[in-house]
Amino acid sequence: MQIESTKKGQKTFRIAIDTKEKSSEAVNIEKKLLGLGYNVSIDVSRIYTLDYDFSSEEIQMIANSLYNPVIEFSRVNTPFNKKFDFALELGFLPGVTDNVANTTTEIINDLLKIDIGLSKVFSSKTVYITGNLKKLTYEDVEKLAKELINVLIERYHIKTYDEYVKNNGMEFIVPKVHLTAKPKVIEVNLNVSDEELIEIGKKGILDPDTLERRGPLALDIEYLTAIKDYFKKEGRNPNDIEIEAIAQTWSEHCKHTIFASEIDEDVKEGIFKKYIRNATNEIRKELGERDFCISVFSDNSGGIIFDENWMVTDKAETHNSPSALDPFGGAITGIVGVNRDTMGFGLGALPIANKYGFCVGRPEDRNIVYRGKNKSNPALLPKKILEGVVHGVNVGGNHSGIPTPTGFVYFDDSYKGKPLVFVGTIGLIPRKLPNGALSHEKQAQKGDNIVVIGGRVGKDGIHGATFSSEAMDEGSPATAVQIGDPITQKKASDAIIKEARDLGLYNSITDNGAGGISCSVAEMAKECGGFVVELEKVPLKYPGLEPWEIWISESQERITLSVPDEKLNEFMELMKIRGVESVVIGKFNETDRAVVKYNNKTIMDLDMEFLHEGLPKKKLHTIPYLYNKEEPEINIINHLEIFEKILGNHNNCSFEYISKQYDHEVQNNSVVKPLQGIGRVNGTASVIKPVLTSKKGLVMSQSLYPRLSEINCYDMAACAIDTAIRNCVAVGGNINHLAIMDNFCWCSSDEPERLFQLKETARACYDYAKIYLTPFISGKDSMFNDFKGFDENNNPIKISALPTLMISALSVIDDVENTNTMEFKLVGDSIYIIGKTYDECGGSEFYHAFSKLGSKSPKVDAKYARKLYERIYELSNNKILSSCASVTLGGILITLSKMAIAGKLGAVIDSAVIPNESLSLEKILYSETQSRFIVTVAPENEKEFEKLMEEFEIQKIGKVTEKDFVVKHKNEIIINTSLERMEEVYKKRFKDF
């Protein structure tokens, strides 16, 4: 919708804020466009479009409150007065969360002491472009626009200078959502042919008015038959909302059907119960009094003991599909979503650390793949995906005031079609609340009010991230993707965790994630037995939503609580004064029925038991996967050249540019930071001190070995588990107080070969967790990380992400002073390797540098490793090590070089003495054998160190020197390079990111 700006007495205003000098935003757009080959000059105005009848005094007051006169000035309904070639307006599509507009609305309401209501303010910006060397064409500007925005959620408008002058500026655009259809409830007849049932399951319920289907339910014929049978018993046809609600509750996402189903003859109880939950149960039993678990698998996060007063929680999620479509929105909703999993743990935990992990394609890859035929619907390039997800976690974490002490990026071409975006949050909660209640126990009581607080409901996230570009034009909302609003969530979080929780104002709490309130209310109702919701009470972003949409929308920043009558007034009053919108939408009861009413009419009435347990059991089968069997033979001629290639490759080089844009100092808990040493090298584990008055610490690490999935999934899982634990141990972690989490990201999980890999991975999870005595406390799976589309030449392609298991480890330690960092500390210290090196280069960074995979995967001897890790914790507590590094990707040589770069100190290494199994020099240097450390020890501590390590294989391999990194083999110097050169190689790849 467009409104002309020339009429007097209009009710639409356009406030533009310009900077007196060129803003750094403009300078950075110039830089970005120069990188794309456009030498242009840029100016930027911030635009506020107001669709409200203000007086001229009022509009001036508003304009004055939107800028700082020292550096900026404002214009109201007045065009830009400089000369340029093109003006490019960038704004959101209708219905997309506009945080700046929301803040501006609050500013106006507070300034004028009025309430202008929703959707009256819209933010955008105008970019004025002038070609420096040659005049730009309209097509050029259109291309630039698409580089600067994501057309899925944002709009652009272009005017030449002449048009701009003639029209007196840009048009006034009010991107409001207009929904014309009258809300209705459709009765669905399931007594139809199997073909029609299949169609309903795949494409959705048919809307009789538009004759369009509403989008996938992901219900197959067996499920739909079960639903049909159920309603036969109820003696009526189901309503649309009932089928949609069942589809949400039964979805793979919510019920984890693949992990729950019987698989082959030997896993009757399903993968989750047999391999994951059983491991934890058996470990807890074995630990007996030393068991440190408090709440596992039953809540939004897992909870373990921190000390006698505090519990810590952990949870990791993925947000892969949304991030493929809108990387920024996908990542920000991912991180603020997992924050809510912390707030929704027990009666509410405080988020104290965020973690991230991005698996993406190589950013240099410029080959576009398409979702549609004939080059239609192009997927985003890896670089744009990386930029977006990095920025999403930046805004989500930083704005929420939660530190991000650890994370990783992993590059592989298999992630090109669909990235994996891991987001995790650690929480802190007192074990007992002021009223004496145990904080991890919660129960909605019959008669409690169902209260939803936080954001409003829109068409966001209907059917998860099913994407339809046709639906995204002016006037219709963007349903496919969502943008987070961290400040709305922060307000809710503060009001709950810092006030309402300790006042005991509610009986239960849970997060709204997948399935929205349909899932959160139904889940909580399990605690008491049933519910009645009055759907018209749910606050909406804009009118006109269908009842079923309100029920399942995944709009962000919402929390559901169970508030007893006698606390209701106090609760609602507190939320009001904290600026948190909250409404009562119904009551919990013990009727065993899930009832939803809309304007007094019952539109859903389901048996609770059927809703939660009615889904038919499935049986899955596996067929052995054909692993890679080829082992290459590689002889290195120029060692320095290959060393630099591996050090500088994607998965070994510095990603400081990400670490430093994530606040890791807020909350004042940082000890071992994401970048270690004065040389600032990315570490593999971090340490925080979560309670300001206590010396106790939390150690965290994440690990994955996706390339081993093509060689041996059992070993892949073993390596991920060993590495996550070992990384923690290296910085001072305690294996006797360490919990782990699993995040499975699989591909093509309907193929028996892929299920075979899955089962093998889970089997290793059980075996290794059991020996290490490290319980799984939470986990998550994402089963279909495949991209199906076409290449440039219209050939169909499928890109499947490597089966990926990401393991997170979290350890509690007694004293953060007894931790280690990797950097070389002082000249003259002795360098030791702990652990023997084997012929295990399969899936290594070394082979990858030669485009090989290999077949010999690292094997993990967990019994040996467990003993070793206990001993390293002892050494850490005795402060015997001056530095300690876990040997990870790239092997011994890469680890040593990073220790040198981090400490800005050199080393002389004798590679011939490195304990190994008669390996070639190449393999000694680069094999990725597990359970190894490199440490440095002060000369005066050597004796004690060697004595304490008597029963383990250790070897002194060199000394720390002032400068230069020298590796000798027998009498030959194979590498001799300067620290400056190494640092350059390590840091150059992402220098300009």
Binding site: S24, L66, D663, E817
Partner: protein, 269 residues
């Protein structure tokens, strides 16, 4: 007397707990107060000796960092705040708090009034949020909070920290010794706009300023995040050196704590 500190909170401020902890370690009493409780009159500024604007992301930096929160104070609490200033008490702002105070116009120079904006904190030169440790040097200012302080090692964490003012204002700030901290190297030499010593491109390397009385002080870096020795990025190296010299590292970084102690001691006359 033991001063009471009003620690402002709400709308995305997020450093209130560690800032309260810092003041407690320095010997003050603290009260974390939601701005809406001040507006509703449930709490009153005049009951406190120090007002603290902590770091955070008030209103998500929308419409410019600190702007919306400053508007909220201007519209509802400015008279109370002026009264507080006139009664000779102290105000401190860190990071987002400094941004709020900048937009409130609290850094009065001669010939200007409280409420006049004299400076701005613009987007960092690289237009990106950045978290890193920096050195800052005290410029022999009149600031109450920084007596006895020379060079500090503290983290910054912001996207909009590039100090700007016009040349006349700069001359006045300088003449009156209102420039409190400038970014520098480890030895205290000016950063001379060089990245990363000057992490955001701040004019004249300015990291913090005070008003003409020295009682109102704001800075971009976060001393409250640098109170324990274990917070420092070089903790492990320093621990190792101390150990070999037969020494122990002290638990606190005393010079960073001094900012809060000076504020407390101001009321112990």
């Amino acid at each position: 007397m033991v001063p009471k500190v009003l620690i402002m909170s709400g709308y995305g401020i997020n450093c209130e707990a560690e800032t309260a902890h810092a003041f407690q370690l320095a010997g003050a009493k603290t009260d974390i107060v939601h701005i809406n409780d001040l507006i509703a009159g449930k709490k009153k500024m005049k009951d406190y000796e120090i007002i603290m604007f902590p770091g955070g992301f008030s209103y998500g930096d929308d419409t410019g960092s600190g702007n919306a929160f400053a508007n909220k104070i201007k519209n509802n609490l400015f008279e109370d705040l002026k009264e507080f200033i006139d009664s000779g008490k102290l105000i401190l702002g860190i990071c987002n708090g400094f941004q709020v105070m900048t937009n409130l116009g609290l850094f009065k120079i001669p010939d200007k009034n409280y409420g006049d904006r004299i400076s701005a904190l613009q987007s960092n030169l690289n237009n990106r949020y950045e978290c890193r440790w920096v050195h800052i040097k005290e410029n022999n200012s009149i600031c109450i909070f920084t007596k006895g302080i020379d060079v500090l090692h503290v983290p910054i964490a912001h996207g909009e920290g590039r100090f700007y003012c016009d040349i006349e204002t700069f001359e006045k700030l300088k003449e009156n010794n209102q420039i409190v901290f400038t970014y520098c190297n480890e030895s205290g030499d000016f950063a001379n706009l060089e990245y990363p010593l000057n992490p955001n491109g701040a004019l004249y390397d300015i990291a913090g300023i005070c008003d003409e009385t020295g009682r109102i002080f704001g800075l971009m870096p976060h001393p409250e995040r640098a109170l324990y020795s274990t917070n420092e990025p070089e903790f492990h190296l320093k621990r190792e050196i101390a150990k070999r010299n037969g020494e122990m590292l002290s638990k606190f970084i005393e010079c960073n704590m001094q900012i809060f102690k000076n504020a407390v001691n101001y009321f112990k006359k």
